[in-house]
């Protein structure tokens, strides 16, 4: 009764959860274009996509992906052998236990008519599969907490996942062990199956079980007479062996039984077997009910992601399907950290305390964004910086064991966040090269806005630049600016500038304009001069800084050895630093 009721309750929660979670794939809006597409459009568009794939030759690709990537998980193997062993052990062991042990009355019995959980090979196999899971969980714990795989983060969900599997497995093993030592279980089996009634015979059998199989008896204790044992053995062979293999075959349970033998009597008296049974069953049902809301949901979502991305490949998706795919992919992420391990720009984290630089951690923030949580301005700026600080090398996408198209996700989220209007200074770096190549994917007005906005935010800090006609007072030299220009150890050379204008003359950017000052503000030699005078505002506020190609013509040809390009680089760094520091709640730098 208890079993049935709790099973049905957890099954209902599981199913409702499943439907709810899958519905979010069609409801959550990620990125540009998603806002205008209704849930039903997305649902039917996906349905059409699935049907047209299934009824085409792509079904072969699907089958291939299902076998190689979903079942055998080659994508994990390719990245990390130990992790593959870990995952195959946990997933393989658990699936086999589910099919052969948890569902034995429906599945196992249907296949093997002579199935009994206490006979071999079933008894042995159950423990073998259990051992697989235990080994897998131990590797998982080892990787996370002892080996400390670089850039792998452990969050509450990871711990829950390890815990729930560990509780299910350990309670199962100790349940088996406690039944092995428990006298009442022995007694029950004798009463039910042996048909013996002669006290002598019963005693012999009991002695044999105590000696050989670890039963802890309140009545008798070894050592036993050889004769009694021989008799017990005969009785065992005739009455028990047919339906009960030697408990040693259940090696994990037997090993655990040996551990608890000294307290075997108390265990029985405290009715520990039934307590453990409740724990085991409840843990399974909690695991089942909570599955759709936990990391375990990846069992479904990751398979879907592998299959979907397997057939999509580099194909360009319809906006409705792209939105659905990306919402689904958020659930497919197992937080395994492979992307962060391979990420190209991860050294940035050494300077910027922003966890969103790590791809594996960005996903968490994007989830919060997608499900409509009101993120604070600071959180949004953190995420924006995280998704922009990306060299678009596709490595995360290539290595993701569940095939998520992370690159496209970053691009999409990046564009959505940029629209929110927080200036992002990283747009003024060659990181934007990719964005330029992807220009046609964006709306032109949204494309230009972040670029002008970032420049304006920097220029807004420069009072002197705003008042073009103002006569400059002979401002005292800003020594702080000058001494600040020493990062690259070469940039300090600007003081040697005697304004010969060679740098400006050879600059291809200056040469591009008929009236360069109008377009660029201060020209290179003037910026060198401004830096020399400590006129920070003038140096920072010029468009010239951000329109510099860094082609090094100026620096190469300077007769005074001024490292013009390096000075410009450094002024850009300082300008960004300054405007960032003035932003309320700045992102912390180290």
């Amino acid at each position: 009764m208890f079993l049935k009721v709790s099973l049905y309750i957890s099954l209902v929660i599981f199913l409702v959860g499943l439907v709810y979670k899958v519905s979010t794939w069609f409801r959550y809006k990620i990125g540009i274009g998603a806002e205008e597409i209704s849930t039903s459009t997305r649902f039917f568009s996906t349905l059409r996509g699935i049907l047209s794939t299934v009824f085409s030759f792509k079904i072969l690709t699907l089958l291939k992906v299902f076998v190689l990537d979903v079942l055998l998980q080659f994508r994990i193997l390719r990245e990390d052998f130990l992790r593959w062993i870990m995952h195959i052990f946990i997933y393989g062991g658990f699936m086999l236990l589910l099919l052969m042990h948890a569902l034995d009355k429906t599945i196992t019995v249907a296949i093997w008519k002579n199935y009994y959980s206490t006979v071999n090979p079933f008894m042995f196999l159950r423990d073998l599969f259990g051992a697989f899971v235990i080994v897998g969980v131990l590797i998982a714990i080892y990787r996370r907490f002892i080996l400390k795989v670089p850039r792998m983060f452990t969050n509450a969900m990871d711990i829950y996942t390890i815990l729930i599997v560990a509780v299910i497995m350990l309670s199962g093993i100790f349940l088996e062990a406690s039944k092995m030592v428990a006298y009442s279980d022995y007694k029950r089996m004798v009463d039910e199956y042996s048909g013996l009634s002669d006290p002598e015979e019963l005693k012999s059998l009991e002695a044999y079980w105590v000696k050989e199989f670890g039963t802890v008896s309140p009545n008798i204790k070894g050592p036993f007479d050889e004769k009694i044992l021989t008799k017990g053995k005969d009785l065992h062979q005739s009455s028990c062996a047919e339906c009960h293999a030697r408990p040693q075959w259940a090696f994990t349970g037997y090993g655990a039984a040996k551990l608890i033998t000294p307290i075997g009597l108390s265990i029985d008296r405290a009715r520990l077997p039934s307590v453990l049974w409740y724990i085991h069953i409840l843990a399974c049902f909690v695991g089942l009910a909570y599955l759709p809301f936990s990391k375990m949901f990846h069992i479904f979502a990751s398979s879907v992601s592998l299959l979907a991305n397997g057939v999509i490949g580099k194909e360009k998706l319809a906006p409705a399907n792209r939105a659905t795919l990306q919402a689904m992919e958020l659930d497919a992420c197992t937080h395994c950290g492979t992307c962060s391990l391979r990420c190209s720009v991860i050294m940035a984290f050494e300077e910027i305390s922003n966890i969103n630089i790590f791809p594996s951690e960005k996903i968490g923030s994007i989830k919060a964004l997608a499900c409509g949580n009101a993120l604070s301005s600071k959180e949004l700026r953190h995420l924006q910086e995280g998704v922009y600080l990306c060299s678009n090398c596709y490595r995360c996408t290539v290595v993701c064991p569940v095939g998520i198209n992370l690159q496209d996700l970053w691009f999409n989220v990046r564009e959505t966040l940029l629209r929110k209007g927080y200036p992002e200074f990283l747009v003024l770096s060659p990181l934007s090269f990719y964005r330029g190549l992807m220009k046609e994917e964006t709306v032109l007005k949204d494309y230009e806005k972040p670029l002008t906005q970032a420049r304006e935010a920097i220029a807004a800090q420069c009072e002197l630049m705003k008042k073009k006609d103002k006569v400059l007072a002979l401002t005292p030299t800003n020594r702080k600016l000058q001494s600040g220009l020493n990062l690259s150890a070469q940039a300090k050379t600007f003081s040697a500038c005697f304004s010969c204008q060679t740098c400006t003359t050879v600059c291809p950017v200056v040469g591009n304009y008929e009236n360069p000052q109008e377009a660029l503000g201060l020209l290179p030699h003037q910026i060198m001069h401004a830096a020399g005078l400590g006129l920070r505002d003038l140096a920072f506020g010029s468009n010239m800084l951000w329109d510099c190609l860094t082609c090094y013509q100026c620096q190469e040809q300077c007769p005074q050895g001024v490292h013009v390009t390096d000075v410009l680089y450094e002024l850009k760094n300082l300008a960004v630093k300054q405007v960032r520091e003035k932003t309320p709640e700045p992102i912390e730098r180290k």
């Binding site: 050294m347 490595r395 770096s429 990062l487 291809p508 591009n512 860094t550």
Partner: protein, 310 residues
């Protein structure tokens, strides 16, 4: 055998696969061993505008990784080259900076001591393999091919740091192009920037500069432009394609990667060269290939040309 740690950077594996495959094929043919270090990260170039320290740490980590394996680095990208050279230079020049960087790298058991060299593909071909060796391996040469050779800023300048070639009158790349039988023409804007560093930041300016350079190449009589850097090539290929449609330019000056050009004359299999992957078609260049290895005209060349086409 000569061995290098191959530094691909971010752009090539993501957006220019043909540069990687053609480079690998060409270098295999020339007997250069390539070691892949998976732990390599971004060279730091894109971050230099914003944060010098991130740039330096990223770059230095790559140097340290190669140093750990005691391998010299070969880059295919000129911006990677410039960045790694700059970091290498600073690490040697500035002891306190090196100490600071190593303190961070130490967390991963890495250290920069300056024991390795950073080279660009072109300098490996020119200095380590040598023009004569390459000549000896030629399968076919180009005839009547006028090439605008594009050096790329970050390989040439600042010369004090990059040590690539004479920054004012370089000849290394021209000689490498001429090995294939092509003529490397003189053009006024040869040493100018391709415009790529501003692509995505100021597209109009970036296109202005690219267009100027392309026009200069065309008026100087070039048939193709030759690049050996992913940024330059993408600028001359994908961005030029946009220029053609947005600025009503009649005909393009297509860009071919140097490893594609050299690969064709070395007889490297076509699949690795990926000629069809360039957005502005360059497959016509094959028609200018002739079978003989000598640059001098030979009377029976026409017959051989016929057979090579088959």
């Amino acid at each position: 055998m000569m061995e290098f740690a191959l530094f691909l950077g971010c752009t090539i594996p993501a957006r220019l696969n043909q540069y990687e495959s053609s480079s690998r094929a060409v270098l295999e043919k020339l007997g250069v061993g390539l070691i892949d270090i998976r732990e390599f990260n971004c060279c730091g170039y894109p971050l230099r505008n914003i944060d010098f320290k991130i740039f330096l740490l990223s770059s230095a980590r790559n140097l340290a990784l190669a140093e750990k394996k005691n391998l010299n680095i070969m880059t295919l990208c000129k911006c990677c080259y410039g960045s790694l050279k700059k970091a290498d230079f600073l690490m040697k020049e500035n002891a306190s900076l090196r100490k600071e960087v190593n303190a961070t790298l130490e967390k991963e058991g890495l250290k920069v001591e300056g024991g390795i060299k950073v080279k660009h593909l072109l300098s490996v071909l020119y200095k380590d393999i040598g023009i004569e060796t390459i000549k000896g391996k030629m399968d076919r040469t180009f005839k009547r091919l006028r090439m605008a050779t594009h050096y790329g800023c970050h390989a040439l300048r600042p010369s004090q740091v990059v040590e690539f070639d004479n920054a004012v009158a370089p000849s290394l790349f021209d000689q490498l192009v001429e090995v294939t039988g092509a003529e490397s023409i003189d053009w006024p804007m040869k040493l100018e920037c391709c415009g790529a560093p501003l692509w995505g930041i100021n597209d109009r300016l970036s296109m202005d500069l690219t267009l100027k350079k392309l026009n200069d190449g065309k008026t100087s009589g070039a048939d193709y432009l030759c690049a050996a850097c992913p940024y330059c090539h993408i600028q001359f290929d994908q961005v030029q394609k946009r220029i053609l449609s947005q600025r009503n330019v009649n005909h393009p000056l297509p860009s071919i990667l140097y490893t594609q050009l050299l690969g064709l004359s070395l007889g490297v299999d076509k699949k690795s060269l990926g000629l069809e992957m360039n957005e502005i078609p360059i497959t016509g260049i094959e028609e200018l290939l002739s079978k003989e290895t000598e640059l001098a005209e030979q009377p029976e060349s026409t017959e051989k040309k016929e057979s090579s086409k088959d």
